[in-house]
Symmetry: C2
Subunit: 765 residues, 2 copies
Amino acid sequence: MKRISQFLILMCMAVFSGNAQEKKAFTLEDVIPGGSNYLNLVPENKLGLKWWGNECVRTDVDNILLVDKKTGEETVLATLDEVNEALANGEKPYALAQPAKPLLTLMQATMPWGDRKIVVFPGKVEADGGNDDYMFWYDFGQKKLVNMFRIEASQGKRPANLDFCKANGLLAYTAGNSLFVAGEGDFCKMINPAAMGGSPDFEKDVVYGQAVHRNEFGIRKGTFWSPKGSFLAFYRMDQSMVTDYPQVNTSTRIATLEPDKYPMAGMTSHKVAIGVYDVKAGTTVYLQAGDPTDRYFTNISWSPDERNIYVIELNRDQDHAQLVRYNALTGEREAVLYEEMHPKYVEPQHPIAFLPWDDSKFIYWSQRDGYWHLYLMDTQAEVQPETKTGGDGETTFRESLRVKPLTQGEWLVQEIVGFNAGKKEIIIGSTEISPLQANLFALSVKTGKRMLLGKADGTHSGSLSADGKYLIDRFMSFDVPREVSILPTDGKDGVALLEAKDPLKEQFDLPEISIGTIKAADGVTDLYYRLVKPVGFDPAEKYPAIIYVYGGPHAQMIANMRFYGASGWDLYMAQQGYVMLTVDGRGSDNRGLKFENCTFRHLGTEEMKDQMKGVELLKSLPYVDEGRIGVHGWSFGGFMTTNLMLTYPEVFKAGVAGGPVTDWKYYEVMYGERYMDTPQENPEGYAEADLKQKAGNLKGRLEIIIGGMDPTCVPQHTYTFLRACIDAGTHPDFFVYPEDGHNMIGVDRVHLHEHITRYFEDHLK
Amino acid sequence: MKRISQFLILMCMAVFSGNAQEKKAFTLEDVIPGGSNYLNLVPENKLGLKWWGNECVRTDVDNILLVDKKTGEETVLATLDEVNEALANGEKPYALAQPAKPLLTLMQATMPWGDRKIVVFPGKVEADGGNDDYMFWYDFGQKKLVNMFRIEASQGKRPANLDFCKANGLLAYTAGNSLFVAGEGDFCKMINPAAMGGSPDFEKDVVYGQAVHRNEFGIRKGTFWSPKGSFLAFYRMDQSMVTDYPQVNTSTRIATLEPDKYPMAGMTSHKVAIGVYDVKAGTTVYLQAGDPTDRYFTNISWSPDERNIYVIELNRDQDHAQLVRYNALTGEREAVLYEEMHPKYVEPQHPIAFLPWDDSKFIYWSQRDGYWHLYLMDTQAEVQPETKTGGDGETTFRESLRVKPLTQGEWLVQEIVGFNAGKKEIIIGSTEISPLQANLFALSVKTGKRMLLGKADGTHSGSLSADGKYLIDRFMSFDVPREVSILPTDGKDGVALLEAKDPLKEQFDLPEISIGTIKAADGVTDLYYRLVKPVGFDPAEKYPAIIYVYGGPHAQMIANMRFYGASGWDLYMAQQGYVMLTVDGRGSDNRGLKFENCTFRHLGTEEMKDQMKGVELLKSLPYVDEGRIGVHGWSFGGFMTTNLMLTYPEVFKAGVAGGPVTDWKYYEVMYGERYMDTPQENPEGYAEADLKQKAGNLKGRLEIIIGGMDPTCVPQHTYTFLRACIDAGTHPDFFVYPEDGHNMIGVDRVHLHEHITRYFEDHLK
């Protein structure tokens, strides 16, 4: 806890004070993403930076530029005009009817091979009216197109999930529910016909090559090329046994059904298998994982020699994870290398990563000591498995191989950016400096020592050169709108490519923003809060106050970044004369396992107690009118908002809840059961969190807003809650953004915030 | 127009004035149907009155009573206890395990045969836990059950559309999409297996024995027994080619799809045929009507000799109606007897009715002279068909038989109550005294003279004895809460069975309610309005005002009945301090064809102009605050409300639109195309009435409220409109009653009116 206090002394201060009322007021169009002037007011950025082997390049709309790692100076490598000329003049099969300039940009180009002057990019051509998708390889040494192929659509669906393999030059992608591999010339093969025994496999509701388990457990994709490009591992998900949620699209001539397979808590879930496609043989084997019912197959990774696939497997209860090694050629299940059990839940989120300089060693991520840390495991040094208890007294684990903790302490590793093989270092991102930050470090595998890369201030993200010697470092903090640098990973100074100013700060009077800590409801834990005072603050006045809340796992609202993470709407409401408060209570991210899992089986209960400590803080402020306290949040924050309005009806005068959970039995299996178990196993917990049962408590003004086709918190949450209120004789308000999803984006987001603002102006001001 | 003025002198006065503030205030629970105290405050009623041949009887929960036609005295004919005893002690197959008392009431019993002491009623029994439906015949002479049979369910659906034939003692009914005939003992036969050529006919989306064409054209049922019980005519509707509207029920464990066949304007419609089931032979023939595509088969009736079926057929354009005679035995199309054409639309709404004393003559209803009148047609006197033009210069018609107008004038016949064969009179209901009334008359077929039956005041409905000599007359007016009498049809005085008081009037201070006329926007037509002043009215004050509007065809908001038709909510808002105004503009009911069809192809346009005359009236009242004018309406009135808010944004400060049409292309074929033609034929008219195109005009506060499964104005109307507003940057409000239909009923109706009231209190007061 000492570390936090020191950090606060550093960070907790007001800045945008003085000179109030001298500049014009900003609008929601200025500060809400999607607003007409929003992009003019965010700090300048430097997009398109990437690595070409060990060289830094930047691809923008019109050019590909080499960026000098030491000076930052840029030299043109190729231009879009050259690319278009090459396209127009190429020989068959690359001949195009017309230059494709308006249909192509190089922004998304990559340069996969450090030793080849080839740019790879997807795009469209004018020849077919920009209809089909293509993949282009342009050689800027020879100034010609060296490869081009069409990425076929299927079942009427566009290609998606493009996954290029630089080892074999093939592109894996999905279209509809099918998986394809395409490459040079006309090569294009659908993988699924060969799946599961050789017969055509267009089964209804079976999905190939896409992320599974609703993107939980860190799963973000469904294809996994082997290191040398000999194999493609992929997910196959059978959803035929899963109930359809009937989503309706009213934007068609007559409204149409768009059913969505949605496994709800306690109900039948999908079944997942992992296939391995042999590129040369054209055959597929499936990993022999046994009955897939009620199991999660997560965090797939390859051994460097391509002989093995590693999977972290989890039971439906999510309290027992196993690191399993499979034979990639035969699919045979070879060994369980490591296991973790926890009375609440285990949540694997990161695949193992082999050391580039030692094929016998890999890194495993674990929270077994209470925080995400890295453990070095040695496949060559097997030991007798023995059940042990982690340092935090709760996780138990069994190791079948030698394990060495690489990091330890009351902070957590957030990211492995890459490796510096020469120095046997891992470049990581961590919260070691502050839980409100992400900083980059070079971690010595040998000593466990860490060397800070870049500034100690702020929230950093990095991208590493092939040899690990250079890092593109992007960061922002409360004081630094945006900085982009190239840093050597030896700790020496690098070169700043961009030191942006904040146009919003320069053009407008912004509110005073400060952060601090309060004690959680447990009386022990420190919680961060962020307080935004009204623009033109007058300490003699009484202001209405709004708590903006999220409160759920995997998210943190307060960070050392622009405005300490305050949103444009926070600033706007401060300009309208509201005090804005946010508290990251227990259950939220980056504070360790116990901080998070104290909410297990009764989501909302502890989290609300912590928000009420925020209310205490507000009431202690002489300038806050305690009769005019409001609350707003989205998703888990919508659940919290509604729950707070119903649980403390005397406290909150008005609230706006977006896309809320109202009953966890309508939420999906993976996330929902992790924190709540099933409705059958935990009826009391589900009842306690069922907002319908509190519908009669509503006193203040509560508006619920949803996207009409929300695939995450399905509309059933809100409609059943409205029904409960009607039955109980209480009066919530409601608004819907037809066809929108879990969040409003683009211009809808501005409209949404006008709507939310109006609600508070109507009922809180 | 003279008649109207005279009537107004009679009716237009204030009554509930004085003594304001002395009594307690009423609540929405007191005055909204579904409210907890509503039934205690409506005028007493006398339910269960019906005819047993020429005798009047009354069936209540516990007794069947004979009502003396001259004195009104009641004598017990049978008791529920007797019925239950008979049920309990009956021989097989009527033996029941337990008495069925709690599951039966006699309220719904009928006594079909004037010469038999038999009561027929549907009910349930305790033996099977009240699960199945039964039909009982109880003989109160013999005091025993003489028949009882189970009404089978089918395809998991309960029996519905029960249609009992007293000529043959059989019951026709539907269950699921099938049609059944059941009778004495175990007889039960599904009609559709024999349909359309003898093979089983459980086709998907084919419906038997139910009302078709979405209940337009006066269609209320789908089975038609022949006069002597030899045949059952029935509708068969093939909906397989009609698009499904995806309605979603969120009250199940996971929301479920409940698709509804909904033919939208301009889209493919269903196909209807008429079958004739021969009871004795057990066979079915279909009327040979030709290709049913885009045709309406309406107003089925039988000839007295059962040899013919008459159908009024209409083309999809609804501008050409034909009265067609079919051979009921062969299905052969025999003749077109009469035709009507109109450049706007023809809307048949009444089946022909044969004179009981002359099988060669029947009555045809027509608006060909501009008002609904009765025409006597003579099947024996055929003439050369010749196209003629009606008196109003617009309807053209062709007659193949001799036709004699029975009624004429600027008023309309509303109902044929029945016949007095002895005196060759027809008992009708008409607006002859006032378009705000329904009065009963004995119409001489010979002379066309009409004799008023019952009081000249108010809105009457009648029920006639078998011989036509006595009438049960129910009526209410502004001054008479409710009166129920038995009247002889010779014009002499009858006996009053009930002269009810109005408990609401007695217990509360009610607002002053008056009616009057203003000129329509055409400068010529008189329109009725109803004005409700605030309770405790102070002429020196400035009150907010709300226009309650419907405005569409087939409805009239103002009538000479309790409160001149003002709703409980009108009274409640008057108590809250609002002036409430309603204007029945052009397009509405009971004022003749031209009054209605001036809106053809541009629904909303003329109607809004007339509502703006109502606004002028409000602005002329010194006690109305013209800056606080609101508007509220449901269905067509929701369309009007939204349209008014968007078309006159400077006039209306707040509005609440319920279940609105926002674009007629989302409305159904039958009603929609009658008034608007198809979107393909009338793009300008559809565009003019498309509220989405005016979404950017919204300035005042507009809330739209819908039932989440509205099958009439499907939710697509509102969701596409909300989307248009979001895109246009305007801000409507919205609320939904999940799973409710086109209107909220029961306790939801109270909640709804709390909600609407709150909206006006928030934004208009």
